[in-house]
Amino acid sequence: MSNPTILAERLMAYLKGELSGEELREIEERLSKDAELRQLVDDMRDKAYITREISKLQSFDVEKAWKNVASHDEKKANLSSPIAHRPSHFYRIAAAIALLIVGGALVWYMQYTKVTPPEISPEVLAAMQQSQQSGHVGANIENGGTKSETQGVRDAHQTEKDDEGNVTTHSPIPAAQDQFLLPPSISTEELLHAKRITTFHDKEFWLTLDDGTLVHLNYNTRVIYPEKFGRKTREVILDGEAYFMVAKDRSRPFIVHTPQGDVKVYGTEFYISTKADDTNNSSTTITLIKGSVGVTPSGGTEQRMLPGQQCSIINAQCSISATDIEPYVAWNQGVFVFEDCTLERLMNVLSQWYGYQVVFKDDKARRALFTGELDKYSSFRPVLEAISSVTDINFTIKENTIIIQK
């Protein structure tokens, strides 16, 4: 019995090299006996042939034909009012898919209510553990602005000896409350019921949200989030820097509100920073690592991003450019990566992270360039030693200060 449909399926598998054993022998035998089929396989490997023939196939006017057929049978009056179709001649969408595309995002979403937590790589898990053990985790969590609790490691782990043998301890420095901005799109009402987490001046934190989304907050960062997400969306507010690993939930888009605009998540991993850049102009930067996001600057329209891109919102405009995502991925995994970085900039990061003051006694030293990697969770001393050994720069540690000179 003729079964062209199944044969076509088999040939597809054959063309893609998926057949083996008995099935492969069968097809090969069939091909050796049938010249027509051999020709067909050759044609299917010819790119120009495929384009030509697809063109031919799609030149048939389905809509017109449908109208013809539908009107032919008076009994089936319903057939003349088809489900929404595209007007274009050449492409038709099967009804189910038409629903999908024609503003059907919600319909599509409604079919997928399963929530899948994000995949956390072993590197990230290791980093989380190391961070905890080395005392770099610390944040304040408040409920709707009332009760506050501190999470993280006690001060005891943060003792260091300076060069004169004095022991100093670091108390976690809470971030200044008034420095956080609120995005214009959120009502104060919603804020009252939300939870608020603020990392300390020199600590990071991993926050797991209601849906399993993992947010890795850098120091001095505030995230406002509901204890439980609503049915339609998952929304949080961010001011600071954070790496998001978002849980998959097609029924509820994940939206991050920042003072400069909103980021809508269609995919999985990205990094957002709302800090002012070096020139002190207020801006929000979004770096997309995996998946897909759309950025809507306040008062603007949504712009989609591709992985490997960075979007800067400056003056309510999106500026997208290609960027190296490695440093962000590395940071999330517990490593500082820096390339052609001035010592000044490097010390800025380290001083903030380790909670030290930095004093440059020599201006030339500021401009020295460094490329390398740093483990976030070990002491910075070996780094300073390494720098000293390859340059003529000297580091002296006195109490809470690193003094740099040549």
Binding site: N3, A8, L15, V62, H72
Partner: protein
């Protein structure tokens, strides 16, 4: 778990029409060599299908039936055409799917079916991507020409092309080497 397909159900019928019409016409064209006769043959088959009360086990069963029915109708029309008969009655009481074995015919069916699968994958691209894809790879326009025609920026055209490729790669994962060649051509 496949539900049986009944042609008496309007939505099933319509979906069947839209999913298979073009591929069946392509197939018919390979027999009759004339577009309008090809379309007539296919439409006749679908009209006949309206009265088909038995249900089909699945899409494979349905498609095999359709290909055979179109083939038979094409032969009828060709014969009539040769005899200079202008009207070929469509006898709804006679079954249209009597088996006619012919190696050449079968390979024509398989050919149409393979192309149908590819065309379906392209159709399922999001609208903008599909448009860009069509203009770029079927109409063979340059990026600038596409940008002009669709009133998009050059960058958007490139992005849409990229996304279309990604989508197709996903969708056509099951015919990878084919796609690979296709994609190579695209890039």
């Amino acid at each position: 778990m496949e539900k049986k397909l009944r042609m008496t159900d309007e939505r099933t019928y319509e979906r069947c029409f839209h999913a298979n019409y073009q591929a069946l016409c392509y197939f018919a064209l390979s027999i009759v060599s004339d577009e309008s006769i090809a379309e007539d043959a296919v439409q006749d088959v679908f009209i006949r299908l309206l009265h088909h009360t038995e249900s089909f086990d699945n899409n494979t069963h349905l498609r095999n039936y359709l290909y055979q029915a179109v083939h038979n109708r094409c032969i009828d029309l060709l014969r009539a055409h040769a005899r200079q008969v202008s009207v070929v009655p469509l006898d709804c009481s006679k079954p249209l799917h009597d088996q006619v074995h012919d190696d050449e015919t079968e390979s024509k069916m398989v050919r149409a079916e393979l192309l149908r699968i590819i065309a379906e994958a392209i159709d399922q691209l999001p609208e903008k991507q599909r448009e860009v894809f069509r203009l770029a790879y079927i109409d063979d326009l340059s990026n600038e020409e596409i940008a002009q025609q669709m009133n998009l920026s050059l960058n958007t055209v490139k992005v849409q092309k990229y996304r279309a490729k990604q989508h197709l790669r996903e969708r056509l994962k099951d015919i990878y080497p084919l796609l690979f060649i296709f994609i190579k051509y695209i890039s």
